[in-house]
Amino acid sequence: MIEVEGLRKTFGDLVAVDDVSFRAEPGAIFGLLGPNGAGKSTTIGCLSGLLDPTAGSVRVLGHDVVGDALAARESLGVVPQELAIYEDLSAAENLRFWGGAFHLRGAELNRRVEEVLERVGLEDRAKEPAKQFSGGMKRRLNFACGVLHKPKVLLLDEPTVGVDPQSRVRLLDLVREEAASGTCVLYTTHYMEEAETLCDRLAIVDHGRLIAEGTLAELRGMLGERDLLRLAGAFDPDKVGAALAGVEAIRGDHEVVQSDAELLTVSVPQASRHLPAIFAALDATGAEVRETTLTQPSLETLFIKLTGKELRE
């Protein structure tokens, strides 16, 4: 179990993580979803003991990662965003070293190494130096090094970035297997679909802040049954609000999420049915609509609703 309370981490003036609190349970995948620079890796760094939190507390299975660091790390497995393997050594040698670091030895170590090599599909290449591996294979080895010792808490930092599609599917299955076996998994990503299909609970982060948290269903619920209507063109932001309020069918049941001279984002229930009325009302203000995007409720729309911008940059 991971308990994070009021976590804050600054680098000089830059606040990378700002008052973040969450709780991740065993046997489930907790996702941290946010764009690049949101503070995901910094959070993972504080959890794994690489970075000292500026304020707040982090506990892993009840052990404070600062005050009781070694005990906390005993139960941790980390799959860092950047590869962390010895390129000159073979896959098996890498695994044996990192397994040894977590007190595995002898027959038990051998068994685990064989097992995990098979799980990540590297059993045929076990004796080759890692530098000869493809990017996806290195990623899988990187993953294997983090899970070999069957950690109770597994931290995964964007493990699928830059990975070929086959390796990606395989990696996601492996993550599910870990959670199914009772591991508490923290998974960071900036891929919406990954978060939606993989995570039991999710926290959405932006600029170091946790802006929403809950199960996928709870997060969807925050949007209501509304669709997100994004219009690009030329608008008069001062008149748009009043014009939409004048549309009978959606009165009192819509929200202007974001509005400026070029972009207008509105959340509306069953938007497709009200498009003609909305266009007519905007037309009356002299607005010109060049592009229309209609999205059903999703994490993407939630993110846009919460931050006013798209997740993908």
């Binding site: 790390r73 941790l76 590869l83």
Partner: protein, 413 residues
């Protein structure tokens, strides 16, 4: 403790995976040793002297070094006498058959060496003579090799700066590099006055101090061996950047062990490599140069702890630097004077007393003297034990500083 041994084992395995580096570390000193043997081996007594004219058109510290090493005046150990001349005069005299050879150091010699560009030393030999010019050629190869080796100390950081601009930050523009090399140049020129002429006095001092008929090889060998150990320490210390770049350092810091255990493991591996190279070197010295070799295991152990000291010193320099390029420049600047003054380039026997007094206090100079004493069975067990403990204590302190720095700013940046 188990993790320390595990790390040491892992590091040794990684060293063995990279036999090229090991071969280079071993190969360069062996090549130099062989050339010393070729040039000076068994050449005791009176050998015919050749006269070599030298025209130095470069007038840099490196060409000065070359001249110094050749012994401009009465270089009695070298099988030739060198005389500085202007190029025109030199050519005329060779034609007149007044000398065995004319060596021309071309303009831009130091520059080319520093940039690792090819450069040619021109050796004009006297067609009328056969044997003497051949000897000159052979000995010159040795001297040039020594200069080349010296350049390795400085050349690499300079080279690195010239060739691979850092991604992003602190790129030194070429003018800056030129400025630094000019600075080094002038430092070396000043130091050169103090350091290089003594080489010429070699024979005089040797005759006074050494009762056995030690030849140049035996004299130079321990120095070269120690230079090798120093380079080895530097090379092994640099591995921390590899760990950083591979991300393995960060991973190691997330295992349930203290950072110090990891670093101690790496240091242990370095000690094993250094002890092995030293033992190997001593055996070569014993059979190649008749070096005394009374206590091989003790000498190996001494090399190991001395290696720990040098490695942790170089490691601290690596960790203090903001980038690997800065680190290699920094360690070059620290290593060079230590090598020069600490008897690792020229033997103490060939240095003036004042410098020897200082040189024996450098870590490498001190360790070298102890190693010689151990080999010659002339050590005092009590003070040697105290030295062992002293080294272990100092290395411990250095290691502590290294650990703090590594687990802090170094791993996080």
């Amino acid at each position: 403790m188990r993790f320390t041994l595990l790390t040491a084992k892992n590091d040794l395995r990684r060293r063995l995976r990279d036999p090229m580096s090991l071969l280079i570390w071993l190969g360069i000193p062996i090549a130099i040793a062989l050339m010393i043997q070729l040039a000076f081996g068994g050449s005791g007594g009176s050998s015919p002297k050749a006269k070599v004219l030298v025209a130095d058109r470069d007038e840099s510290f490196l060409s000065g070094l070359l001249l110094g090493a050749m012994g401009q005046q009465q270089g009695q150990q070298l099988p030739f006498e060198a005389e500085s001349v202007e190029l025109e005069e030199g050519r005329e005299r060779i034609e007149e058959g007044d000398a065995s050879a004319l060596l021309v150091i071309p303009e831009g010699f130091a520059d080319a060496l520093l940039r690792e560009e090819p450069c040619t030393l021109e050796l004009v030999t006297n067609p009328a003579q056969r044997i003497l010019p051949a000897m000159v050629e052979e000995s010159l190869t040795l001297v040039v090799e020594a200069v080349f080796y010296l350049h390795r100390v400085f050349g690499e950081p300079l080279d690195a700066m010239l060739q691979e601009p850092a991604p992003g930050a602190n790129t030194l523009p070429n003018e800056e590099v030129a400025r630094i090399s000019t600075m080094i140049n002038s430092i070396m020129e000043r130091m050169g006055d103090a350091l290089f002429p003594p080489v010429i006095q070699l024979s005089i001092e040797v005759e006074e101090e050494e009762e056995e008929d030690s030849d140049m090889g035996a004299l130079f060998f321990p120095s070269i061996l120690f230079m090798t150990l120093f380079f080895l320490a530097q090379g092994l210390a640099e591995d921390i950047w590899v760990e950083k770049q591979q991300g393995t350092l960060r991973r190691a810091l997330t295992t349930p062990h203290r950072a110090g255990e990891f670093l101690t493991g790496k240091l242990l591996a370095a000690m094993v490599v250094i002890a092995a190279v030293c033992a190997f070197g001593l055996v070569v010295g014993r059979f190649g140069f008749g070096l005394p070799l009374k206590n091989l295991p003790l000498a190996g152990a001494w090399a190991a702890v001395a290696g720990a000291l040098l490695t942790s010193l170089m490691l601290l320099l690596q960790l203090m630097a903001s980038s690997q390029r800065v680190a290699s420049l920094l360690s070059g600047l620290v290593m060079m004077p230590l090598l020069m003054i600490g008897g690792s380039f020229f033997p103490f026997e060939a240095m003036p007393p004042l410098l020897v007094t200082i040189g024996r206090k450098t870590p490498n100079g001190w360790a070298l003297e102890q190693l010689k004493a151990i080999n010659a069975d002339g050590y005092d067990p009590t003070s040697l034990l105290a030295s062992f403990l002293g080294i272990v204590a100092i290395s411990g302190v250095l290691l502590y500083l290294c650990t703090r720095r590594m687990a802090g700013a170094f791993a996080r940046s």
